[in-house]
Symmetry: C2
C-alpha cells in the first residue's frame, strides 16, 4: 500500500531530463536538492534516525520486510576496505533518510555518466528503512593470517558458531566477512538499499548470499502486534522488547566486556531455518500446540491465560502431566531452561521457490542480537538434537553466521571507525 499512499521523498526533475536528452545537451541536468514536504502524516515518511549510541535496526520496532546480504571482501587492501566502509556509511545516511545515493541521484548529474543511484525507489518514502552492519570472524583473519592489519582486534567471542546437533549447513550460506541487514516496511526500499550498497562495493566486496524475508516473525516493541510464522503460530510473544528493563543487558556489549570498539554494539546471529511444512501440516492441532507449548489461536501458553500471560513451567494439566510439555519449544527456549539466557529475535518468514520435491521451500530466516554469542549458543544447545526440542522434526538449519555489529555513530563517523579508523 505504501506505493499508493507514498509521499514523494525526492524532487524529480521530470521533463528536464527529456529536454536535455532530446537536445543532446550534457549540461542540462541540475542537482536535485530540494525535497517535497509531506502532505499527510504518513508514518512511513518519517525516517528512522541513522545516528545514535547504537545502530538502528536492532531495537527499532521490527519492520515488515527484510533484505539480508552477506558479502566477502575481495580486496586485501586496508585502504580500500576503509574507503568502502566510508562510502557505504555515506550512502546509508542518505538511504535511511529517504534519499537517493550520491549527490546527483538517479536522474540529475551528467547524462554521460551512469546514475549514482539505481532509481527504483524514486518517489517512495523512507518506509522505516534501517541498515545495520556486522563483521564476521573471517574479516579479521583467514587461514590463520590476519587481514587488513587487524591483528589482535578480533573479539575472542567472534568465532564461527559451534556445530549443533542436526545442523545441515550449506557452506555457501555460512560465514562471510560482512553482513548488512536492511529492514523496511516496503520491500522495494529494502532491496533498493542493498542493491546500491552492493553496487558501491564492486571490486572490493561481492555477494556471498542474499535473502529476502516477506514477513516479520518477531515484535521488538510491546506496541507491536505479534506476527505469525509459517507453522501458523504467533512468534516472538515472549521476545525481549525494547521496553524491557533488562534490554540493555541482553543486547548491548558493555564496557566490561570489550573490546572497546564493540562497546555499545551487539552480536548478530543469522540462521536460515528451513521448515518441513508439509509434515507439520499433518500434525494434529493438539500435537502442534504441544510441540510449541502455546495455543495456536490465541498464542496463550498451555499453562493458561492469554497471549501475554506469563509462562508457568510448573503448571500441571488435569492428567498430572506438565501443562507445558517437557520437550515443547517454549519450555526449551525459556530463560529458566537456559540459565537465564535471553536473546532479542528479529527473524522473517521466507519462501525461496520450490524444494524440488513438489513442495514450497519455506522457512524462517532467524536473526538474533545479543550481548554475547554465548547467550545464543546456550539456548541453541538446549534446542538442538532430536531428543530435545520437539520442533526439530520439522526444521533444518541450513545456514549460520555470526557478526559483530559495532555501536552507532555520530554525524561524522563511519561504519567500523573504532576498528579501522
Amino acid at each position: 500500500m505504501t506505493e499508493r499512499r507514498g509521499v514523494s521523498r525526492r524532487s524529480l526533475l521530470g521533463a528536464a531530463g527529456v529536454g536535455a536528452l532530446a537536445a543532446g545537451a550534457a549540461g542540462g541536468y541540475a542537482v536535485a536538492a530540494t525535497r517535497d514536504e509531506p502532505v499527510a502524516p504518513d508514518p512511513d515518511a518519517v525516517p528512522v534516525a541513522f545516528e545514535g549510541r547504537h545502530q538502528a535496526g536492532i531495537l527499532t520496532p521490527a519492520q515488515d520486510r527484510l533484505h539480508f546480504v552477506v558479502l566477502d571482501v575481495t580486496t586485501e587492501s586496508r585502504d580500500e576496505l576503509v574507503s568502502l566502509l566510508k562510502e557505504w556509511t555515506q550512502a546509508a545516511r542518505r538511504l535511511t533518510q529517504g534519499n537517493e545515493v550520491g549527490v546527483y541521484g538517479a536522474v540529475a548529474g551528467t547524462p554521460l555518466a551512469p546514475p549514482e543511484d539505481t532509481g527504483e525507489a524514486l518517489g517512495l518514502p523512507a518506509s522505516g528503512l534501517t541498515l545495520t552492519i556486522g563483521f564476521g570472524p573471517s574479516l579479521f583473519e583467514r587461514d590463520g593470517k590476519a587481514r587488513f592489519g587487524l591483528d589482535g582486534r578480533r573479539p575472542d567471542e567472534l568465532v564461527d558458531l559451534p556445530a549443533f546437533s542436526g545442523d545441515r549447513l550449506d557452506p555457501a550460506l555460512t560465514g562471510g566477512d560482512i553482513a548488512i541487514q536492511a529492514c523496511a516496511n516496503d520491500p522495494q526500499v529494502a532491496v533498493h538499499a542493498v542493491r546500491n550498497l552492493v553496487r558501491i562495493a564492486f571490486g572490493r566486496a561481492s555477494v556471498r548470499y542474499s535473502q529476502l524475508g516477506f514477513g516479520r516473525t518477531s515484535s521488538t516493541s510491546a506496541a507491536q502486534v505479534t506476527p505469525r510464522n509459517l507453522f501458523g503460530f504467533k512468534d516472538g510473544t515472549a521476545n525481549v522488547k525494547s521496553e524491557d528493563r533488562d534490554v540493555d543487558d541482553v543486547v548491548w556489549v558493555q564496557g566490561s566486556d570489550g573490546p572497546d570498539w564493540l562497546v555499545g554494539g551487539s552480536y548478530l546471529v543469522a540462521r536460515r531455518i528451513d521448515m518441513r511444512i508439509e509434515t507439520w501440516d499433518r500434525e494434529p492441532l493438539a500435537g502442534q500446540e504441544a510441540i510449541i507449548g502455546r495455543a495456536k489461536g490465541s498464542g496463550g501458553p498451555l499453562s493458561g491465560g492469554d497471549e501475554h500471560a506469563a509462562i508457568d513451567l510448573a503448571a500441571k494439566g488435569a492428567d498430572g502431566e506438565p501443562a507445558i510439555p517437557t520437550l515443547s519449544h517454549v519450555r526449551m527456549a525459556h530463560p529458566d531452561s537456559n540459565g537465564g539466557a535471553k536473546i532479542l529475535r528479529r527473524g522473517y518468514n521466507f519462501v525461496n521457490g520450490t524444494d524440488g520435491l513438489g513442495q514450497l521451500a519455506a522457512g524462517l530466516f532467524f536473526i538474533s542480537f545479543q550481548r554475547s554469542p554465548a547467550q545464543f549458543v546456550r539456548i541453541q544447545r538446549t534446542l538442538a538434537g532430536s531428543t530435545n526440542d520437539a520442533l526439530n522434526e520439522y526444521i533444518v538449519h541450513r545456514s549460520s553466521g555470526l557478526f559483530a555489529c559495532p555501536p552507532g555513530l555520530g554525524a561524522k563517523g563511519f561504519w567500523g571507525e573504532g576498528l579501522l579508523g
Copy 2:
C-alpha cells in the same frame, strides 16, 4: 504495515483452545463462524469479489505483492482432477474473502485432527487477495496422448510458446499443467493462500516452481501510481488499463474465438526475465533513457511531455534523429510497431538470492493477459533478438509458460467446470 493496522478477519477462539487441550477434552473446540466487524475503513479489509463474469486478478488493480505457483497434476484420474478443482474453488472462495480454508479453520474442529488451515494468516485482513487459475497445454495432452478425457478440448492456440531469439529457458521453470496467480497487498496473505492450495493438492498435483514478487511493475488501473522496475524506470505507464475502451477486446476471449469453455477467459503468459543489473548500472543515464525511450525521472517519453504524454514515434530531436530511438524498448513494444497488438501486463520485481557470481539474482517476473497468445508472440518477436530491442543486452528470459484462464464463475461453479464439469 497491514499487520499493524489489520482488522481481525477471524474470530479467534483464544483461550478456548488452551482449555480444551489442558483438559484433554477432544470436544472442547467450537466452530469459528462469526466474524469481527471492521472498526475502521481499512481498504484491505474489503475483499475483492471472487465471483463474476471474469476471474479476478486480471483487471483487478494490480496488488503490491505476488506469489505465483505452477503445478503438475500427478494423478491421471479425471475424477481426482475434478475433485481437486472443486476443493480448490471452495478454498479460493473462502481465502479471497479473508477467511481460512475449511469449516474448522486452524484452531477449531477436533484437536485430534490436523487443522484444515495452516494458520499463518489468522488475524490478517483479506488484503485484496485474488486467486487466478490457468491451464497449460500439458494438462490436455502429454506425449501425444490426451489426458483426463480432454480429447479435442484444447484450444488450438494453447500450445507451448515458440522459441524466441535469445531465450535461455530452464526446463524446470517452463511449461506446467496448472498455474495459480496469488496477488495481495500483504505477502503473508498471498503465501498463505498458495501454501494451502498446494497442501490441498497433495497426492494429486505437486509444485513445479513457485516465485514471489515483492513489488508490482505495472498498473492496471488509471487510478494507480506507476511503479518502477529494477532498472529504475517507471514501468507500465502505457499498459492497457481497465478503464480503456478497448480493454475487453485486448484481454477477454470472445464468443467468436472459442472454444466455448474459454469465452470470457484470457490467456496468461508468464516469463521470468533475469536482469543483468550490474551491467545496466554502468550505462550512462542518457544511454539508459535511450534504451528505454523514456526519461528516468518523470517517465515521460523522449518525444516530450510528462509521464502520460502520448508517445510520438515520428518526433525528431535537434539532431534530426528520432527522439525515440529506433531500437528503444517503448518503440519496439508499441502497438504501432506490432500491427496494433496490445497486452495487459501484470508483472512483479523479484530478487532470488544470489547469482553465484557475487551479484544479486534480480529481475522481473513478467505476467501478461491477452485474448490470444498471438498478441504476446507478435510483440515478443519484435523485441527478441539482439539486433532489435536494445534492452536485450541487459535481460535474459529464463522461464516461459502459457496458460488458458477460464472465465469467472457464480456461486456454485468450480474452476474449469466448463471444461471438465
